[in-house]
Symmetry: C3
Subunit: 310 residues, 3 copies
């Protein structure tokens, strides 16, 4: 019997554990064990609101019979508003719950939390521009469900790559565990993928290309991973407007579908604005809602692996 002690960043996972997450997630989809976590409590500690992620975790916990205590905007409300440190909040809340799901507005939040949680497991649900490992796991799971494998694929990551923690975590996973893939970073100049990821890919010999032409990439890609320009990460609104302007050529619409392979898929961590047109939703290659649904199964799997066993 093993237990997962925490979920902080993509790099922590060995391949065996990732695969175990996937097989467990599949079982959660098919026959969820309804009372498995009866009597256990998960705390949702969200310093910035994220309804989707929070409700996904809370549904996962409740589908397994567990309970939830929750705060959805701890930065404005609550003790934080009175000036309390993250560390103090974690120390206190670890006394009330068996696992803490933490969304924090600055990179490194989840990592800091671990040292103060008295061995109560921490799950990183996004730390600023840092990582969002459960999102990356559900992204991988979605790819695996579709292609039956996560290798020998051409994966285009599109949009706000500098601020997008999902594409960061996904890149780590791909580089470390899954061979023969190729990555296209498609973005305006101002939101290029950061160098740390590029170096990581180089270290693992993952070929990557940087471009601002989506049209060049679409015919080659098996996975088109679109992202939103994250307004809330831009300090100056004119910079944001400029990036939005430059991103117009990166919107995925009906014209894009015509360029794509018949077996390719379009993914998106959601929420989306205009970067994927609504007309795309009806195409069988539109995979972003299935992807969101997979988030439930992957989070159920992680909660089982943390609170029960694997």
């Amino acid at each position: 019997m093993k237990r997962l002690g925490l979920v902080i960043k993509a790099q922590q996972f060995d391949k065996r554990t990732v695969e175990r997450v996937f097989t467990t997630a599949k079982r959660m989809e098919i026959s969820p064990p309804a009372k498995l976590l009866d009597g256990r409590i998960m705390a949702s500690l969200f310093y910035e609101p994220s309804t989707r992620t929070r409700l996904s975790f809370e549904s996962a916990m409740k589908r397994l019979g567990g309970e939830v205590i929750s705060t959805e905007n701890a930065k404005e409300f609550s003790s934080k508003a009175k000036g309390e440190s993250l560390e103090d909040s974690i120390r206190v809340i670890s006394g009330y719950a068996d696992v803490i799901v933490l969304r924090y507005y600055k990179e490194g939040g989840a990592g800091r939390a671990v040292a103060y949680s008295n061995n109560v497991p921490i799950i990183n649900a996004g730390d600023g521009i840092g990582q969002h490992p459960t999102q990356a796991l559900l992204d991988l799971y979605t790819i695996k469900e579709k292609f039956g494998k996560i290798e020998d694929l051409r994966i285009a990551m599109v949009g706000d790559l500098v601020n997008g923690r999902t594409v960061r975590s996904l890149s780590y996973f791909l580089a470390k565990h899954y061979p023969k893939n190729q990555i296209f970073f498609v973005s305006p100049e101002a939101t290029r993928m950061r160098d740390d990821i590029k170096s990581y890919l180089d270290k693992y010999n993952v070929p990557w290309v940087e471009t601002n032409s989506l049209e060049d990439v679409l015919p080659k890609a098996d996975v088109v991973y679109q992202t939103r320009v994250q307004k809330e990460r831009f300090e100056k609104s004119d910079k944001y407007s400029q990036v939005v302007e430059e991103s117009k050529g990166l919107m995925i619409g009906k014209h894009s579908l015509a360029l794509m392979k018949p077996e390719a898929i379009v993914m998106h961590p959601l929420p989306r604005l205009t970067e994927i047109g609504y007309a795309v939703d009806r195409d069988p290659r539109a995979y972003y809602f299935k992807q969101a649904q997979n988030g439930l199964y992957v989070r159920m799997a992680l909660l089982k692996m943390i609170l029960d066993e694997y």
Copy 2:
């Protein structure tokens, strides 16, 4: 075995179903089946806050053994703040829950949601100035509990009739299913009941009268349904102030009780401001808190009819 597929507007209900809601609600009051919805999840998706309605639904779900995931201010928090459409939110959340209770700030929200929920039932908990059908059902239930019938009654609707969705939904129900009633619309000029409802009443031959004199109506009414001037629906504050001023003659106080029949009742969807004086609360004809309590039973009934059977 039948199931109710959704609760969107008053017009959807045939009389047989309405009556079934009432008999089920009565059973919920007397002997609630505590584990009936064990393992089922309700999502409360409130785009504008409404503590009363939300807690009423959540209590109803939990009284039946079900679970809840909840967001109480989705318009300011969460994905909506990042610009996500209602449709996308519904598509995602329908993957996490077995029924969605939706409060939306614009008319038609619940109707739009239905098309995107993958057959997960939607309950309309208020859509802007549109409808609030569960409120109307509990209003009717309250009248039935009091009078043993919903016919041959004189019902005065008082106050902000142009913005009041409860009086709208109630009018629809009365017109369609319950004969021999008579309606008095009592309001200032600026907040008259809208024409669509008047036409609907005409179509069903429900006699109605429009007046701004509450005193004329009180001695005749069996039900005095008071409403609040809904500040949040007025775009200009001077218009609101003017309506408040003109509504002063419509306040119900001790003097009003003297004019009312001994067997009449005063109803109000709550919250109230000054439109019913606190002195009225002690009168046995004050029925608004009983009415709020009935909301619990009616919502339990609806959840049973949606998630279990009827």
Copy 3:
């Protein structure tokens, strides 16, 4: 079989009941009865946010198998924003829950609520600058756990004593039930303990001293109860800044530990800002996180005593 009918203020408790809270809390810590409150619903009605207190109560309820309906910022959201009175809210919510935990922003809120709750028990979770009796109970429990008694101790209360409801409730308890203690009030001139408490202590012959020198007190104290300057209670920010300035000499740091007895403890209701240095956390005399943890057991005990029996 007895039940506790409400928890409003320190003065309501006789010593026998307080002691029963402690023995029950101890049992909750050692072997919590996981399904005791199955099917019961607690409403968290927080007019001002307090994540710690709210999550502590909600965890307590869920650890006992009960359910929770919750609002974390009722003053800004919800019916209150529409102008509803506390009394009306309580009347309605008492129809949805079996116990109401109320945090209110003005003194006397919980007391007002009792008259309108239709015998649904109210627990005061803080009423402005009034009281916070469950905090005081957990404070006492922490002292008892440490010293095996609550008498013959020297207790220093430090900081913002004029606004600190925890030190007020604690003083009431100490005076009424526990003999031979001595209290030091250590604060700047502007945040001195109010006269009502001093009179109460005098009435019960509890010796107290008022000073602004922490250094004089530290070598004598068994318990050093530090508090935060409550910015949110100051109407003028310059007054607040002045008090913060004058409070600098009251900060507890490593230098303070050197002055303290080896068996003394440092307590704090949390959240803390700078009034206790992080370096103190590692000292075995730092008791504030243990104190927060004890809050869970004390609240479980109170919920049991209210909803089950004692």
